[in-house]
Symmetry: C2
Subunit: 114 residues, 2 copies
DNA sequence: AAAACATTTCTATATTTATCGAAATGATAA
DNA sequence: TTATCATTTCGATAAATATAGAAATGTTTT
């Protein structure tokens, strides 16, 4: 039961849900998510670790960045149940629509100073 | 988005999940749920109001009791998405199995002193 | 090797939440 | 109507959680 509760709890936060919906569009690094969410990057990192601990997302190094993406290839039945549902949900939500729009014009190269 | 988060939050608590799984078996009054959960009845009542506020359960008067049951006839798309999933989940969970077993031999008439 | 910088970890704080016991409520039964 | 009793509400407390800023980490680039 703890496994299910961990997944549901991970999805029960507004900022984490916004992250999941963004990762549905494409994989992102922390600075891109931070830019769209407009909260401290340490907070974003904390949310990502909660989602990762629940098995909902995974990450991979990409140069100086860490790329986060939805764990769509998991064996976890609960995640395999939830992710398809989430894909249908909230697509008309104003906050989500604004986030996805902003994400389209957000680029890690522009966010970094080099 | 708040509506979805409210539903997910409501399902993200161990005792509330135990309640949902019990209501999957049959409708229950507060004293029956309190007996199985072994926590204060005021706490159970609080959990029930959170589930009700989220639209996951409803209640109906039955004599001196209040009968709680799963809201399987809602128009809410999120609840209609979650309830069927939950019906498949946790049926092999030891806690849930013990709860459902105990619920079989639990009767509101035995719990009341009249 | 040093500088730059994305990310994570640490520390602290404010808010939320689960919990209980007691009091209040409301309805049933005598 | 009075007593009974299931349920809800209230008040208080302890634990969990979201958050930010600063320090630490680790990797890339010069």
């Amino acid at each position: 039961m703890d496994e299910v509760l961990k997944i549901l709890k991970a999805l029960s936060d507004k900022n984490r849900m916004r992250i999941v919906k963004m990762l549905q569009q494409r994989s992102c690094c922390v600075c891109e998510l931070t830019s769209v969410l407009s909260i401290a990057n340490s907070t974003v990192s904390s949310h990502l670790s909660i989602l990762k601990e629940a098995g909902i997302i995974e990450d991979v190094k990409d140069g100086k960045w860490v790329d986060y993406y939805l764990n769509t290839r998991t064996n976890n039945a609960f995640i395999n149940g939830m992710l398809p549902l989430l894909a249908f949900w909230l697509n008309n939500d104003e906050q989500v629509k604004a986030d996805l729009q902003k994400l389209k014009t957000t680029n890690r190269l522009d966010l970094c100073k080099m």
